[in-house]
Amino acid sequence: MIRAHRNHPGYWAFALHRLSGVLLALFLPAHFLVLGLAVEEAALDSFLSWSDAPLAKLAEGGLVVLLAVHLTGGMRLLALEFLPWSDHQKSLIALATGLALAAGGLFLLSAG
């Protein structure tokens, strides 16, 4: 629940990191299932042709954003915990989020 005391960039960054982590964890079994199709080449090929559909590409863009959000957010946390403290935490949160969105945008541009 979003209460007033949680309305600040540090909490939003945490929520984004947690949400992207949970969604990626939900995606993983589906990913492995598709990899399992490779046992029969035809099954995999028919799936891969489906994944070229525009809607699937858009969803893939979302997946790239989730991965990038979790990666940059995780690197920000590692820096926070293992490097000497920096007072620019809010800028780092903005940078991590911006990089993740840019990665998703670049993916969609190259897919189109």
Binding site: R3, A4, H5, H8, L77, L80, E81, F82
Partner: protein, 244 residues
């Protein structure tokens, strides 16, 4: 007043009444320029609700006893301007979160101070009164790290703002860990290893999720998240060296 309430010169204030099980009561109070939230609570007690329980002492932001939840955020009420936190002429005042409520706006601070003890928040001297005073270089890294955290007034605003305390009542919390960090950086303290062990346990610094809500809300502008990050590094280093 720029915020128009029920009337030009009135504010509607909701104040928590009762213990853990209670309710918000509504009061109409005069809207004055230059009044603090504490002034307003005092006005309610003196004019409308003599039985209202709340806590304060210095009224100038030194003692740390008047913290309450104001419109959902923990704040020191004596230095919180009503004008700056009122939304649409309304104000909702509750006791601090994450601490047991005794009555109305008064919380039981016992768990808060117990955690200071659990985190070894006390100085262990290495000299006696017969020795020369320690000469501490004010520019040393440790002294500057301690300096950044020593102005804590024990108001528990950080504890009320911390979601990890909310989720895990045993967690030592930002105030006690910040205190431990100042001691670990105090070269006169003789129990650094014990302090590190005290904050590295299951309820210790490694619970922190780095939301930075404590730093966001600390009225003294301290940064307990930075202190806790320092403790995490010191704790890991001690573990690698086999000292923990």
């Amino acid at each position: 007043m720029s915020h128009a309430g029920p009337s030009e010169h009135e504010l509607t204030v909701e104040i928590w009444r009762g213990g853990a099980e209670g309710r918000f009561e509504r009061y109409r109070v005069p809207a004055r320029e230059n009044q603090s939230v504490l002034d307003l609570v005092t006005w309610v007690q003196r004019h409308l609700e003599p039985a209202l329980a709340y806590r304060f002492a210095c009224r100038v932001g030194m003692c740390g006893s008047c913290a309450m939840t104001v419109n959902g955020r923990p704040r020191w009420t004596c230095r919180t301007h009503v004008d700056k936190v009122t939304k649409g002429g309304r104000l909702k005042i509750a006791p601090l979160a994450n601490l047991p409520v005794i009555r109305d706006l008064v919380t039981d601070m016992t768990p808060f101070f117990d955690k200071w003890q659990q985190a070894r928040g006390r100085f262990s001297p290495t000299r006696t009164r017969k020795d020369e005073p320690a000469a501490v270089d004010p520019d040393s890294r440790a002294r500057r790290a301690a300096d950044a955290g020593i102005e804590c007034i024990n108001c528990a605003v950080c504890t009320a703002a911390c979601d990890v305390v909310r989720w895990n009542a045993d967690y030592l919390g930002p105030a006690a860990l910040n205190r431990a960090w100042t001691l670990i950086n105090d070269e006169r303290d003789g129990a650094r290893a014990e302090s590190l062990a005290a904050v590295s346990g299951a309820a210790g610094c490694h619970n922190c999720h780095s939301h930075q809500g404590c730093a966001e809300h600390c009225p003294m502008g301290l940064n307990p998240t930075a202190a806790i990050a320092g403790l995490k590094r010191a704790s890991l280093l001690a573990l690698l060296k086999g000292e923990l």
